[in-house]
Symmetry: C2
Subunit: 345 residues, 2 copies
Amino acid sequence: MELNDRKLKILQAVVADFINSAEPIGSRTLSKRDDIDVSPATIRNEMSDLEEMGYLTHPHTSAGRVPSDKAYRLYVDELMSHSELSPEEKEVIKEKLDQGSEELDRTLEHASKVLSEMTNLVSFAVTPKEENKIKYINFLPVDETSVVLMIVCENGRVSNTAIRVGCPYTEENLTLMSKVATHNYSGQSVSNILTQDIMEEFERDLPQLTGMSSSVVPGFIKTLEKMLDVDLYVNGYKNVFALPEFNDVEKVKDVYDIVTNKDQFSQVLVNRDNGLVVTIGDENSPDLKDFALITADYRVNGKMVGRLGVLGPKRMKYDEVTSVIKYITDNMNNTFEIEGEVQDE
Amino acid sequence: MELNDRKLKILQAVVADFINSAEPIGSRTLSKRDDIDVSPATIRNEMSDLEEMGYLTHPHTSAGRVPSDKAYRLYVDELMSHSELSPEEKEVIKEKLDQGSEELDRTLEHASKVLSEMTNLVSFAVTPKEENKIKYINFLPVDETSVVLMIVCENGRVSNTAIRVGCPYTEENLTLMSKVATHNYSGQSVSNILTQDIMEEFERDLPQLTGMSSSVVPGFIKTLEKMLDVDLYVNGYKNVFALPEFNDVEKVKDVYDIVTNKDQFSQVLVNRDNGLVVTIGDENSPDLKDFALITADYRVNGKMVGRLGVLGPKRMKYDEVTSVIKYITDNMNNTFEIEGEVQDE
DNA sequence: TATTAGCACTCAAATAACACGAGTGCTAAC
DNA sequence: GTTAGCACTCGTGTTATTTGAGTGCTAATA
């Protein structure tokens, strides 16, 4: 059997209608649409064919049709409109993005928030497991019993931790320690440093400070390990409360479990392909089989520095959401690269 | 009418049973209890009196009795048992607490997590709006276009922000800037600094660096403002999914709104009395009228440095929860003060 | 006089019966 | 190839009925 034009039109209508209404679509409903001018009976025949071909399903005999994963896939790839965002929408997004642009290291987090606001879905941002190279390491005094360890990477990211030291120290000790650590590790990637016997190296190069080393090194290692973790920000969880498919506590809980199981979820996100990617239902891992996931990369100078996305029901406004995601990831670049861009008055 | 012994015993039984079962308690159920040996009819009479006195209510004529807020209050103040935690429970808590003890500045956050695990309720931690005094201020180089601002307070808290600078700088510039800023502001409280015209002061004392000042000062101010915010950590939200009173999406959403409306919720928490405080139903603000809130302070050297608590249904195991909270807040002190305490073998 | 057995009464919740209607599939006519 | 017509299906909503846990009241009891 072949997917002729009429079948495609009907399929497209079913998917579009279902995305809007979340209700199974019947033949009579479809026949009332302006763009379809055949009788319900004809539509029924076509729908029956489409079902046989795996594009539609039936919740039960006397219900309308619902799109299958295969139908969503076809819809996204071929059928849906690719409307541009209106200038007003663009303006709104631009404005929202700009509100968070001062906080350099929270750009991604902020963009994810904007994304959830624009799509009314659960959104997230994830930083890649990056092979950061250390620029320098600084131990700074706080009070008698604690110091701050500060690690600056070449890409500008900064981590710091407060560390309790077991013994008294002087500022000279700290300066020395900072110098030695920077000398030993600057230019190396974090994961590479972690393969070494850091404690031994500290003791070797700072034999007069073994007491301090023993209390500082574990914190140092912990901080490095933390730097290897991907950061995952989730926003707009409360949007699920408004979606009819989640009008049941179990479902709401499922989504909560997914987005709060950060290790597993970030794994899924990190392992995705680059670019704009849409995965629907069965295309995802089993725990996401009832969802659609859309992600896009955010790049600076061609290098991927983060991934942004939304999680929602398969019944998702794919065209709008992809437009918004694309616009945001493109525009974040501008926020970064072009400062003080000319504003049209 | 008077609250005689039998009334108290019955009331106590109703509250305790309801806390366990979440079901209205009938006279027959009560009469089967070992500690009550009067007939259902007698109990009915007593319950009727208790209802008249405002301690019990009736969902409807043919249902059992449910405790009122007044009953919970009496229960907490007079009726409930104050069982000590078992040595095993103490051991479990101690162990969990210890797992997070390295991360000095996350102690409170971690303790809140332990609290939610032990109580199966939503827990939170909040830091007081503190009048921190600045110890020193440091501007550190990251790359050509950005610096890190680091502010260390006398109490050991550290804040840092990445700031994009509009013009090239040298390390000497930064050192100078750090010195001037530290000289001008160390010893002062954050809120006090914010009352001053910081930009003017930078320009006055660093006339040769006006370009840098103009790009750095806004970030400096923003960081100071952020330091004034209270930090609120919420843990164990997913515990609400298991409670029968939240088997409805609306209710689940209500709790979510409460704990994610950080400004409002932290306001409620910050304004509480010191010490162990239990507020039930109407004793709370209207949006919390269906909940009970328990908080306790965590002190170091007598100074309150944080507040820990749980949010749950009024039907809460008050004795257990208060024991756990008390034990955690007491024990956090130990984690801090006494390092390497003798372990009993 | 306090307690309790007995009993009529109430009402939410569960169950059953039923009508409704949106939808289907099939057949025969156009 | 398309469509009108029709019997059939089945979820949904409505109403009636039953069930049972629980109450309040009264009268008997200790």
